[in-house]
Amino acid sequence: HPSPLTKARLPPMRIRLLYFATFKDVAGRDSEERQVAGGAKVSDLWRDLTREMPGLLKTGSMPPAAVNREYTGPETVLADGDEVAFLPPVAGG
């Protein structure tokens, strides 16, 4: 019988990741193309990023995230071509 379609079986995806303000300072860049595992969620991406750049954690827990320019939650599953940003505390006005 066929095996279930598991997360591991999904092909990897490419997303565009944007950095702003203090996160841009930590990352040393304002954007990057990045490969993520098929089926990865926003929270998975944040976990990976903070392992690479612990400096991102200075804002504490996962900051607000945007996918394709809309606020979204940590459980959102990413799709190929998504534009993703984690947002430091906003300070407009």
Binding site: A21, A66, P89, V90, A91, G92, G93
Partner: protein, 140 residues
């Protein structure tokens, strides 16, 4: 386009009030010379431009539902601003002042809460900080 890197033409925003509007409430966010007890020399505003535009649009749509008689306009600067420069301008006009005040106040509150704009304050000693409104006293 709600974001601009040129000085905000406040008079033009005011001129858009309609003949039926008797009350116009406005808010100007101005670069001030201090924050949390530290002197400020200038501020650089950075935005996630396309998302900021979309968020402001959403805020205005929400205001139009809550205060259908009010007409609200918003402009927000990006780039480097000096003390006294206007960073954000809100103009809310309505037949009566209660709606104008309510819509104006809600507009600036929501913009400050949710629009992806950041500001780096430069101090006279050459240091600078990204402002974190969640960390200290309420912002202006």
């Amino acid at each position: 386009m709600y974001l601009t890197d040129a000085p905000i033409d406040f008079a033009a925003l005011l001129a858009a009030a309609r003949p039926a509007d008797g009350g116009v409430c406005t808010f100007l966010g101005v670069v001030r010379n201090h924050h949390l007890g530290l002197p400020t020399e200038r501020i650089a505003y950075e935005a996630y431009g396309p998302m900021a535009e979309a968020q402001i649009r959403k805020i205005l749509d929400g205001l139009a539902r809550e205060w259908p008689d009010a007409q609200v306009q918003v402009r927000h600067r990006v780039g480097v601003l000096e003390i006294g420069d206007v960073a954000v301008a809100i103009v809310a006009s309505a037949p009566h002042r209660a709606e104008a005040f309510a819509a104006c106040r809600a507009a600036i509150d929501r913009i400050k809460e949710t629009v992806p704009i950041w500001k780096r304050e430069f101090h006279p000693d050459g240091t600078s900080d990204w402002v974190d409104p969640t960390a200290g006293s309420p912002p202006g």
